[in-house]
Structure formats: structure tokens, C-alpha cells
């Protein structure tokens, strides 16, 4: 009889403790009711990406000396540098340059090692197309500057603080 009573007391104490801890946890959950969301509504709101953001690569044709360092440091030797040695000026003339962004992983090695800084990374990251061959950018496409998010008045920009 006595044993049963202590057992019952123990059990009820346990239940009260459990209820208290669960209640404590629920308070945390409930306190989120008056917190602001940390997410953004993406197509309508966009984050101003950081200055170092590694987006689509920009290429300046005139600066390139066709040294092919970008090919050497690229994990998969992706940039295609088409050049011809001009014997009269004893220099390499760059004919074509292309990077396939369907394959590029935006590691930024080529930008870091480019001796003339003719490669740079833009803030453009929305590269989706209906045809993957459109992602193979030639020197003209690589030379285009992206439209900044700030200039797009249809989009609310959000800065990370």
C-alpha cells in the first residue's frame, strides 16, 4: 500500500517536471510569434550580394594576354583560349575566349591568378536558360556587364546587416 503511494507520488512528480520542461520549450516556440522573419521573398525581394560575391565571370578582351594561367589553375581546364602567335609583333593574338557556365563552378581561381586582371566576377547569379548551350559564353557575352539589383526598380533590395 505504502509502496503504491510513493510510486504514485514519484510518477506525478515526474509528470509535473515533464510538463514544466515541455512548457519551457513551448515558451521558446511561442516567443517566435513576435519575432521578425529572417527570410526574404525572393523574386520580389533580393539581397544585395557582398562585394566578393562570386557570380558570372566578366572578361575584358583587350587586357587578355593569352597566357592561359586561367586554364592552368582551373580545376577542369575550362576556359577556352584561342590564340595565334603573330611572328611580326612576336606576341600572341587572342582570337576567341569562352567559358561554359554550365560547367563552371565559380571557384574563382582564374580570377585570382589572372596576371592582367582581365577576369573578374560579377554579382549576376541568375543564369538559368532553357538550353544549356546558351550558357557557353563567348568573349562578347563574357564582356557584358550585368544589370545591378539596385537599378532594377521592380525589385526591393535588401542589405544584409
Amino acid at each position: 500500500m505504502f509502496l503504491m503511494v510513493t510510486e504514485f507520488i514519484n510518477y506525478s512528480e515526474q509528470i509535473i517536471r515533464a510538463a514544466r520542461y515541455i512548457g519551457q520549450g513551448l515558451m521558446i516556440t511561442l516567443s517566435h510569434a513576435n519575432r521578425l522573419p529572417v527570410t526574404i521573398q525572393y523574386p520580389y525581394e533580393k539581397i544585395i550580394s557582398s562585394e566578393r560575391f562570386r557570380g558570372r565571370i566578366h572578361f575584358e578582351f583587350d587586357k587578355c594576354i593569352a597566357c592561359e594561367v586561367c586554364v592552368r589553375v582551373c580545376p577542369i581546364d575550362l576556359p577556352i583560349v584561342d590564340w595565334k602567335l603573330e611572328t611580326d609583333i612576336r606576341k600572341k593574338r587572342l582570337l576567341n575566349y569562352s567559358i561554359d557556365f554550365g560547367i563552371c563552378i565559380f571557384c574563382g581561381n582564374c580570377i585570382e591568378y589572372c596576371p592582367t586582371n582581365c577576369l573578374s566576377m560579377t554579382e549576376e547569379y541568375e543564369l538559368s536558360t532553357y538550353d544549356r548551350h546558351e550558357l557557353n559564353y563567348n568573349l562578347i557575352a563574357l564582356g557584358r556587364l550585368p544589370v545591378s539589383v539596385i537599378d532594377d526598380y521592380t525589385i526591393r533590395t535588401i542589405q544584409i546587416k
Binding site: 520549450g25 550580394s49 592552368r72 589553375v73
Partner: protein, 393 residues
């Protein structure tokens, strides 16, 4: 199958490779007697990409973008080990500032990894709420990473002899704000989870590994420390500049899933302590090793002295590995992450063997889940903390 006599009433269930609690593409063939697990056979290899073979025809700088795909939740650690190996092989010194930046990045990455362990682990055992909360904190860490490195996950930030770029203006303040914020949110997690009776029922005494077993199986990281061994490579090996900070090795002696949870939660707090100290004592100076290296010279020239020679801004893209072999290891959030390199006086390593913590820790799974209930598989597997990217490589 380990059982020779398969009784008719045993049920063989295939778990995974596409199962939400298999953390990627692990496949388990589970033999069940009702609810009880009789046998469990893990099958690996669904995410095998031949990372070790790829390393054999890449220079270190070419290979660096690959390594963040081993353990894609603790990306900084894979980068750190990839540069630490060649650095030690070529005896390259790292400037103090670079070392501090590395420590800050590594500890942030450890927090991110432990957070993304905590959420799915809780989701595995039925608590969905923390899963959403951890992503909020993790997002702040990734914002910090993006500001410093340009990418959220695939940073490509560590370089031989330093880091790729210096920290941007205002980053240190932003990071120390995060530290203050994170301490409050970790207190919140503990309030939410640690003493929750439903949680305790699921994890207490589940998946117990004792001291002998944990050594015999060669486990490392929180698995090891939760079983009562104070072994942390940051203390043991003193790599980077961890000996300059005051912090403690987190350990428990129970060896069950709860102990592993407590170790990881404690480690997050310790990481914050390290980051705060590193931010405070962040020295000036170069973020990259700019000196030329001289193998044969006995005396190391003094910094900026007449004899001292500088090399170009970046370390050579075709860094030559000397003809030596070496095993280097660091304390990754999941355990001891090591690589065994054999150099061949060539830009490419001759052999690049990865010692992934997840793979070694996963070995003990069949033993742990045997004679447990089916629902405990998720708890145990979750508490081991595996990432298939590094298990299969």
C-alpha cells in the same frame, strides 16, 4: 548477410538510399524480428566520385575547389587539411594573421556543421522545431562566409601559406556581433531541447559505446569524447594557433546519444569562446606567406631583413610537392580528418589518401543498432553524424 539461418518470420527491410534520415545516400539492409533489429548491413558508395584519384592529377590549387565537396557541411576543414598537408610537406610557415583568420573560419565552420547536425538529428527523432531554428543561425554564419570568401558553401578560401584574401572591412565587428547573438540562441536551444522529457526518452542510454570499444573501433571526434576520453586534436597536436586561446575540451562519460548531443552543444559554446578570443587578438601583418623558401639554408632569415626575400603575391599555382610522404590531421567537427600524401617532386601528389571521420565512425553502426528497436536506428545514426560526401568521397 551475417546470419546463416534466415528464419521465415524475419523481415528484411531496405532503408535508403533515398530516405530522409539516411543523411544523404546511405543504404541499410535491416533484418527485423518484429520491431527488433537483428542485423544491419550498411551499403556505401552511392556518392563515390573518386576524390582520391582526382587529386592525383590536379595541382593543389586546382584541387582546392573539389575538397569542399567531401564534407559539404564543414567545408573550411576540408580546405584546411588540403593546404596543411602540402604546407607541412614543404615546410611553409603561415603568418600569424593568416593563422588567426583560419582559426576563426574553422570554428565558424564547426558551429555551422554542428548546427546542421543538431537540426536533422532532432528531426530524426521527431522534433521538427529546432530544424527550422538552426537554419536561421547557420544563415548568419554563411553570410559571414559570403562576405569574406564570396561563396556560402564552396569557399575556396585557404591557400598554401595563408588565405586567399584578407577579411573585408567591418567583418570582425559583424562576426563578434554574431558571437554575442549565438550565445543567446544556444541557450535557447538548450532550454528547448536538453531537458525535454520526450527527447531524453529517445536518446538516454541509446547507442552506448564504452571506452574500450570506442578505441578499438578507432572512432574520433564527439563520438570519442562522449565516451569519456579527452582527446581533441586541437589540444593534442596544437596546429594553427589553438594553444593561444583558453578553452576546454568538451567530454562526457556516458557514451550514449545524449552524451554526444551534450558534447556537440558544448563544443559550439567553446568554438564561440575561441572565435571571440581570436577576434580580439587578431594581429596585423600579411595574410599570406610572402617569403621565398630556402630548403638548403640552415638559418631562416629574419622578417624584412636584408637576406629576406619575397616572392610574388600568390603562391605558385604549380606548387611542387617534395618527394616525401606525410600524414596530417585536424580536428574536424565530425572527428579526425586526415590525409596521407605522397609527394613526387611534382605539382601533382602521387597519392592522396583521405581519412574521413564519418567513414570511420560509421563502422560501429551495425554493432550499435543490433538488438535495438527499429526507431532507434535513426537516433543512433543521427548521433554518429555522418555526411555521405566524405564517407563515399
Amino acid at each position: 548477410m551475417n546470419i546463416s539461418t534466415i528464419r521465415k518470420d524475419f523481415m528484411i527491410v531496405n532503408m535508403g538510399p533515398h530516405h530522409p534520415s539516411m543523411h544523404g545516400v546511405l543504404r541499410l539492409i535491416v533484418t527485423l524480428d518484429g520491431e527488433d533489429v537483428i542485423d544491419c548491413e550498411p551499403i556505401l558508395g552511392y556518392l563515390h566520385r573518386g576524390m582520391e584519384k582526382i587529386a592525383e592529377n590536379r595541382t593543389i590549387i586546382q584541387y582546392l575547389p573539389y575538397v569542399t565537396r567531401w564534407d559539404y557541411l564543414a567545408t573550411m576543414f576540408t580546405e584546411a587539411i588540403t593546404v596543411n598537408g602540402p604546407e607541412q610537406l614543404g615546410n611553409i610557415q603561415v603568418p600569424k594573421r593568416a593563422s588567426y583568420i583560419r582559426v576563426i573560419m574553422l570554428e565558424l565552420s564547426r558551429i555551422a556543421s554542428h548546427l546542421l547536425w543538431l537540426g536533422p538529428f532532432m528531426a530524426d527523432i521527431g522534433a521538427q522545431t529546432p530544424f527550422f531554428y538552426i537554419f536561421r543561425e547557420r544563415e548568419f554564419i554563411y553570410d559571414l562566409f559570403e562576405a569574406a570568401t564570396g561563396m556560402r558553401m564552396m569557399h575556396n578560401f585557404f591557400r598554401i601559406g595563408g588565405v586567399a584574401t584578407d577579411l573585408p572591412y567591418g567583418w570582425v565587428d559583424k562576426c563578434s556581433d554574431f558571437c554575442d547573438y549565438f550565445l543567446t540562441s544556444i541557450a535557447e536551444y538548450q532550454k528547448l531541447i536538453t531537458r525535454n522529457p520526450i527527447f531524453l526518452e529517445r536518446v538516454e542510454g541509446v547507442g552506448v559505446v564504452d571506452v574500450k570499444e570506442v578505441i578499438n573501433w578507432g572512432l574520433s571526434g564527439p563520438m570519442l569524447r562522449a565516451s569519456g576520453i579527452q582527446w581533441d586534436l586541437r589540444k593534442v597536436d596544437n596546429y594553427e594557433c589553438y594553444e593561444e586561446f583558453h578553452w576546454e575540451v568538451q567530454w562526457q562519460k556516458e557514451g550514449d546519444s545524449l552524451a554526444r548531443y551534450l558534447v556537440r552543444i558544448g563544443e559550439m559554446v567553446e568554438s564561440i569562446k575561441i572565435i571571440q578570443q581570436a577576434l580580439e587578438g587578431l594581429p596585423g601583418g600579411p595574410y599570406e606567406n610572402l617569403e621565398i623558401r630556402c630548403f638548403d639554408r640552415e638559418k631562416e632569415p629574419e622578417w624584412n631583413e636584408f637576406e629576406y626575400r619575397f616572392i610574388s603575391k600568390k603562391s605558385s599555382p604549380s606548387f611542387e610537392l617534395p618527394k616525401q610522404e606525410l600524414y596530417v590531421r585536424i580536428e574536424a567537427p565530425k572527428g579526425e580528418l586526415g590525409i596521407f600524401i605522397i609527394g613526387d617532386q611534382n605539382g601533382f601528389p602521387w597519392r592522396w589518401k583521405i581519412h574521413p571521420p564519418g567513414f570511420i565512425n560509421l563502422q560501429i553502426l551495425p554493432q550499435l543498432v543490433k538488438r535495438m528497436k527499429l526507431a532507434d536506428i535513426m537516433t543512433i545514426l543521427g548521433s554518429i553524424d555522418i555526411i555521405m560526401g566524405e564517407v563515399d568521397r
